[in-house]
Amino acid sequence: MARRNRPWLIYALGGGWGHLTRAASLARAAKQRHRVRVLSNSQYARQVASATPELDLVALDPSLEAAEVRRRVIEEIEVFDPGCLIVDTFPRGLGGELAGLIASMTATRVLVHRDLSPRYVAQCGLRSFVQSVYDLILIPGENEAGVFADLPAARITKPWLIRDPTPRQRRGKYSVLVCASGNATELAWYGATVSNLQTLYPSVDVRCVAPVCPPGCLKDCWIAHWPAADLYPAARVVIGGAGYNTIHECLCWEIPLIARPWPRKYDRQWLRARRAAKLGSVRIVKTPEEAAHAAVRQLKELRVRRRIVSFENGTIEAAALIEHACARAFSAPPFRSAYP
């Protein structure tokens, strides 16, 4: 197949919702003009696939051993033979499996630069690796700008969202929406938050969106839905983690967020939450009791809502930048000069 017409492959390995949702957002924007496949090992891939049947999603079994995942990833990339490889967050791959492959690929190589632990970056020498291997570095939201932001190939876009923000309802259908994303072990915290709200403030109408009903959460207020952003227009306050999607969605929807940063191996949720708190209505809490009280305080403080007048989803610009990088690579001579 001519290089120009080869498809795009988005490498979106990693636990939770974040990598897969970001990849689905980009694929959604690019699918009109390109064939796009997403490679994921998220435990939530089935929910995403059923909600977006048009998405070409290869879902690896999340319970596979690391060595088997690495082998399957290499195999999928070699068989698919993409014209453009878009790698989310992990420049060398989540298990380091791309390190020996990516430099020799003829595909245009794009890194989606979500924030990364500086320790990991230093230990694995990621900065020089990224500089030497990637044709384009996309930063999906100014607040995500991290250790690669100053490299010549870096470009900042608006945040990437799975839905374009819509004006919220005049009166929220629910008072509080608890968005229980993250790991299964963290569900109990969200369940306890719902329970606290219902015990301390029985008049507050609370709903909890989660893949399974969290322990402590009544079935009556549990909603199984993806993406959670579909429910934001009906909520007056969101309680959630401080992952990429929750933070950027709430900022873009201008909906108050009570954020509980969770420890992650590579992501720095606490940093994202603190940065967001300077930009919008974001309060950081730790315990379910604090979250319940903060949400009710926030409900009392709510003033006239601002309508979103205009918002550009960063995925549109990202797709255009990737196209541009592919076109540049296509027209470039086969051997790259050491002097640009």
């Binding site: 390995l13 990693g14 636990g15 939770g16 974040g18 990598h19 090992n41 435990q43 999340p62 596979l64 690391a66 995942v69 060398r92 791959g93 989540l94 298990g95 380091g96 632990s117 320790r119 990991y120 230990q123 694995c124 992952g243 940063p261 969770w262 420890p263 992650r264 191996k265 590579y266 992501d267 720095r268 949720q269 606490w270 950081i284 809490v285 730790k286």
Partner: protein, 85 residues
């Protein structure tokens, strides 16, 4: 004499407990030459800063266990967990 490759398993640190990783307790100011079992827990010089949740004079949200977790990570544990984020 410790075996080759031995690293001290004790917890050390001021605000955040982390692995000591010294190759010998000899001359160690944290465990006092191996006499203190848990140097992190037994520190007496925090002046009221008992942990990162209770950092006197600071907003308690300045530090969470996410900060502690980030600093505690062993250096050899990257790229081994395919469910991490």
């Amino acid at each position: 004499m410790n075996p080759e490759g031995w690293k001290c398993p004790r917890r050390v640190g001021f605000l955040f407990p982390h692995e000591c990783e010294r190759t010998t307790p000899d001359g160690c100011v944290d465990c006092n030459n191996g006499q203190v079992g848990d140097p992190f827990a037994q520190r007496t010089d925090r002046y009221g800063y008992n942990d990162y949740d209770r950092y006197r004079g600071r907003n308690p949200n300045d530090f969470t266990e996410a900060d502690g977790e980030n600093l505690r990570r062993s250096r050899s544990r990257y790229e081994d967990d395919m469910t991490a984020s």
